[in-house]
Amino acid sequence: MSSEITEILRTSVMEFVNKNVPSGENGLEKSGITPDLRKKLGEQGFLNLKLPAEAGGTGMDAESYIAVLEEFAKAEPSIAMEMFFLNSVAGRVLSHFEDGIELLKRAGRGEISFMTAIPSEFSRISSHSTETTITSDVPIAAGGSSDFLLMTDQSGRTLLVKDKINVRKIQKPLGFRAITWGGVETKNSQYEDLGKGKLEEIFLKQVNLEITAMALGIAEGAIEKTLEYTKVRKVFNTPLKDFGPVAAAVTNMKGEIDLVKHSLDSERREENSEVLRHASLELALNSARTSVQYHGGYGYFESFGIEKFYRDAMAMKMIFGGLKPRELLYRKIYGSDSGRI
């Protein structure tokens, strides 16, 4: 797809956000992604971008899809994350199952949503399954609502829990507050076994570019606002931008953002995807932290729309960073296992 079309997509994301997403004091983090907003996202075709054609997907190319994720993350990272869970995670595991296709169709239209138990090396999942039902306790899941659940059981198998699930909702999670976070309980629920290690494989290996796009969007969102703010905010009767250390810090971040963006736009992006994943997670956190700092007291308040980038950037690192993906990066660079004695 040409970059011209990608640019049109970016514009349509911004128009959608400006028209439909609440901001300021009563912003999206307060309302959450409501069924109404989800429906609008579905109607505009944002929820089924990468779903397979039989599930109603648009067959969008990777370049355009990551551009949309990046653009949403720039404005509202929670929306990007919900799109990611649906298109990049559920789309990959459910498209091989008849029931799954049906669920994806409905989710792509914004009629239902689901939760994904984030794979973790350390969270203790307790589960007990018979051939058709599962009883389990999943420490942390995230997503839209409790219509269905994608999870990994104790033995590492990826399951689709089809019954309504019980979510112990976290009231104020660290990041991505417009989506639901919570511990999940299922009791004698119907499930479908999707195979060993599917979910973990996706999180570890198959979504590097999507992660990069979201992290990059967070970094851009934070630094673009900082660039604007430091032009108008005066201290000692001088705009902040005229102080050398401020200009240096903000322009350094902007430069790093441009480099990652360039790499993500490049045709060799897949080849560099592990590096991009790690570089962008670091960049998002550094940019968001810098942004809060230069917004001073104002940036510390939710209504200014800055501090959420800092929380979301940290949450990104917690979800997608860690030792296992790092080992994959070492392997990529060294060409063999490394970093483990």
């Binding site: 350390f122 976290i170 001073g296 510390y300 690192k317 917690m318 004695i341």
Partner: protein, 370 residues
């Protein structure tokens, strides 16, 4: 050179810690954080237990450090009711000390410091809230922003401009004690903070508010210097907040690492992260104690105080971020996520890290040695 606290101070530290562990319950911490509720009953309890007393500044520092390591929001909330007291102690008349500090010392009142204005956080000398003398009163008009204890305080140490606009910026400022029950005072609580959500932050407004002349602290025109002197004191206590936040996050990260077994704790990436966190905490502690020992013996070294404050803020941020990286997804609803949110303000309030760096550099340029 002696790096040990006295037995009395060690005993006091133990007492504070035991108090915090008992009284900073999960319920209280959660309730205050989520609902942005000031824990007044805990403030009273802290006072009754003698945990914050200005008789001994080392004890104040120890209390802040220990309580913030249990929960930064509550730790700061119960130690901040005295914020600004040193201005009256050092520069106030006997009348002001008797009238205001006695109420603070008996735990019956809460006070605050009103310096920052909406247009300039770091630019103290740019204050534009005006006070004009009229019939034995000062008439105050203007507003202050991001004021701690804004909706709680009984009175504020308030920086006002008393000279004409033409006068040199620094020389035209004075400090008044403003009663919040005066006509013309109002406060709007600001909600939705990233962290330290149990503390109360407000915008406060003065509209033709009359302050008796005897509420002038020290001399007219010297307000800027009084406030700068105060910041050289209060920054030590912010550094103590930073030690507490970092130590509390480190302790929790260490517990997590140990709970994951030897295979995990023997990973060198994990060990390096712990080592870096521990080293920074130790360095912050040593720097803060050195700065405090100069200050508490009336020989302050402003550059050292600024170093301690700046480094402590950065350490708190560094350690909480590292701790959350270790925690991974399990940290999303943990103590650590709260420590992370609470840490960032330490790089902003009481002089941003940038301001601290300027103070340090300018003193070094004058010939001071690090």
């Amino acid at each position: 050179m002696d790096f040990k606290f006295s037995e009395e101070h060690e005993e006091f530290r133990k007492k504070v810690r035991e108090f915090g562990k008992k009284e900073f319950t999960k319920q209280r911490i959660r309730d205050s954080d989520i609902n942005e509720k000031y824990p007044d009953e805990l403030r009273e309890l802290t006072y009754k237990n003698g945990l914050v007393s200005y008789d001994d500044p080392w004890k104040v520092l120890i209390s802040i450090e220990e309580l913030c390591s249990i929960d930064p929001g509550l730790g700061i909330s119960v130690t901040i009711p005295y914020f600004g007291a040193e201005v009256i102690m050092l520069f106030g008349s006997d009348h002001l000390k008797e009238k205001y500090l006695s109420r603070i010392n008996s735990g019956k009142a809460i006070m605050g410091l009103a310096v920052t204005e909406p247009s300039g956080g770091s630019d103290v000398a740019g204050a534009s809230t005006r006070a004009e003398k009229k019939d034995g009163h000062y008439v105050v008009n203007g507003s202050k922003m991001f004021i701690s204890n804004g909706n709680l305080a009984d009175f504020f140490i308030t920086l006002v401009r008393t000279s004409s606009k033409e006068a040199k910026r620094h020389h035209g400022l004075s400090v008044l004690v403003v009663d919040t029950n005066s006509k013309g005072f109002s406060a709007n609580k600001l909600t939705g903070k990233l962290g330290v959500r149990s503390t109360t932050t407000s915008e406060i407004l003065f509209e033709n508010l009359e302050v008796p002349e005897e509420n002038l602290v020290g001399e007219e025109g010297k307000g800027f210097y009084y406030i700068m002197t105060f910041f050289n004191i209060s920054r030590i206590f912010v550094a103590a907040q930073g030690i507490g936040v970092a130590q509390g996050a480190f302790d929790r990260a260490m517990d997590l690492v140990k709970s994951r077994g030897e295979e995990y704790s023997s990973r060198e990436e994990v060990q390096f992260a712990l080592a870096e966190m521990a080293t920074r905490i130790k360095a912050t502690r040593l720097m803060t104690y050195e700065a405090a020992s100069h200050l508490f013996s009336y020989e302050p070294i402003p550059s050292l105080t600024s170093m301690a404050k700046q480094y402590a803020g950065e350490t708190a941020v560094f350690v909480t971020e590292k701790a959350l990286e270790i925690a991974g997804i399990d940290g999303i609803d943990s103590d650590l996520e709260r420590f992370f949110r609470d840490a960032k303000i330490l790089e902003i309030w009481e002089g941003t890290s940038e301001i601290e760096k300027l103070i340090i550099a300018r003193n070094m340029l004058k010939g001071e040695k690090p």
